[in-house]
């Protein structure tokens, strides 16, 4: 159940495939649910051309590790993977990868979704966006079930 904070750009789908090939027992998992969050070039009505992701080193790792442990305790999972970017990002850069492997799909889906919601509400990351009008801190994340 690796949890990593990445200071450099990463290729989430490539890493997911590689991790699965190297670390998951072949034939044991029937399901993998995965989510990748990426930087959009538009937010709150404005063009965004860069972003900085700050975090609370020491606390973030604990929160992320705990939320993967909770997922493993609550669902019948074979493994999970969680990568999160920090530092200076450009539009289209991946921000987060969350993946869960299980025998059957219900566990993987539920765990992936729950990990993302807990990460969004608890993990100590903060986004600062660069727009034409200057820099601004993102005030809050979109809620889980009405984020349109």
């Amino acid at each position: 159940m690796p949890v990593e904070i990445r200071p450099r750009p990463f290729a989430p789908w490539l890493e997911l495939g590689q991790y699965q090939d190297r670390h998951l027992p072949p034939g044991a998992f029937g399901a993998c649910a995965a989510f990748v969050g990426s930087m959009r070039d538009f937010n709150c009505g404005e063009r965004v051309h860069a972003m900085t992701l700050e975090h609370y080193a020491g606390m973030t790792e604990r929160q992320l590790t705990r939320l993967t442990e909770t997922a493993l305790a609550r669902h019948r999972l074979i493994d999970v993977l969680l990568l999160h970017r920090i530092g200076d990002l450009r539009p289209n850069d991946p921000i987060v990868l969350v993946a869960a492997w299980s025998a059957h799909r219900a566990d993987a889906f539920a765990a992936c979704r729950e990990m993302m919601e807990t990460l969004k509400s608890r993990a100590t990351f903060w986004k600062k966006e660069s727009t034409r009008g200057g820099e601004r801190w993102v005030e809050s994340n979109t809620p889980a079930f009405e984020d349109r």
């Binding site: 975090h55 903060w126 801190w137 809050s140």
Partner: protein, 76 residues
């Protein structure tokens, strides 16, 4: 006793405080630590952690603790 205080994100920029060491004679709560940091009342959405765990403002602080103040998180 010694308390290490950290601030993050917009709060760090507003207060102009990144990390600060506080010396205090008596037992104190997280709310006391905030008052030592700023004359303003804490923002309604302010979050705080004691030794890397979310806590309420009435938590008592022990010698050597790390207390952090920050706005709502926006990762993911």
């Amino acid at each position: 006793m010694t308390v290490h205080i950290k601030c993050f994100a917009s709060l760090r920029q507003q207060l102009g405080v990144d990390a600060v060491r506080l010396e205090h004679r008596r037992e104190m709560t997280v709310a006391d630590a905030w008052r030592a940091l700023s004359a303003q009342p804490p923002p309604g959405n302010l979050l705080c952690a004691r030794n890397f765990e979310y806590v309420d403002f009435d938590q008592t602080i022990a010698d050597g603790d790390e207390i952090a103040f920050f706005p709502p998180v926006t990762g993911g």
